[in-house]
Symmetry: C2
Subunit: 137 residues, 2 copies
DNA sequence: ATGTTAATTGCAACTTAATTGCATTGTACT
DNA sequence: AGTACAATGCAATTAAGTTGCAATTAACAT
């Protein structure tokens, strides 16, 4: 049950290090975007000691390898999540900071309109909702 | 033809300084979000010498006064624009960095769905499109 | 098993956006 | 003109993220 991404990386000639496989595993098993620093903390908690620089470099690497993507949810730091998951967007609780996924049927209508209305060659978009989660209301 | 916002601020007992009125005027006469640093440059160009700290503090102040709002378009810096303009979103050119407004009819459908689907008490949302502008294509 | 090589890592220094403390300045009001 | 306190400049600080370089180590060959 080794991760596909890991397998692919290995086939491409990249090395499978403790940090790399742990980071991929954490991203795969977390259904929400994670920030570099919390990834670092999570690694620490499971006993993997790496420098924060390594976390940043690994995220940069996984971005280039098209395995993860940036999610700009907060003003102050970036989050990252696995690519290739069903298309969805995010809900961020403005009180506790909790993050959830949300998928919307009516999104494709919006995208169609955007393509029609604009002269830009639109490649991607970002959409996020901010409010209070049930617990914090 | 003095700005409404300026008038309101004065009535609230705030002072009208050169920096304050210039920043508000720049924001009012620019139909796209502006970053703190480019605001600083624009001020310089029109002969207004202020510290970048003042720009940040003024933006913070205008945010609290509910006159402007944050627009998180880029990973590296925040942009700001006047509040109260007709609801719209943004297009950012991934080549030249140009920013444009875009308004979408079908957006309310999306919002309705979001409200229905989610248990969150959604207060606001952010939506941006990324691609190449006509010039850069 | 051991050696080789280049990918990966740690460390320290650096960059950039943004914030803060404090002394000074200047707007608005008397 | 004089006063009060909002606004400002300056320098130092914080926090996210990046970079150069030497040391380490995974993967492959012998």
């Amino acid at each position: 049950m080794k991760s596909d991404s890991l397998q692919t990386l290995k086939e491409k000639g990249h090395r499978i290090t403790q940090a790399r496989s742990a980071i991929i595993e954490l991203l795969e098993n977390t259904d929400r975007p994670i920030a570099a620093k919390s990834l670092y903390t999570m690694l620490e908690r499971i006993g993997i000691k790496v420098n924060i620089t390594t976390v940043y470099r690994e995220l940069e690497f996984l971005l280039q390898e098209n395995i993860i993507e940036k999610v700009p949810l907060k003003d102050t730091e970036l989050h990252y999540e696995m690519k290739g998951r069903p298309h969805h967007h995010h809900l961020l609780c403005t009180s506790c900071g909790n993050i959830e996924d949300i998928a919307l049927e009516s999104e494709h209508t919006l995208l169609e309109e955007a393509h029609t209305v604009s002269a830009y060659n639109i490649k991607r978009h970002s959409l996020a909702f901010y409010g209070q989660c049930p617990k914090c209301q």
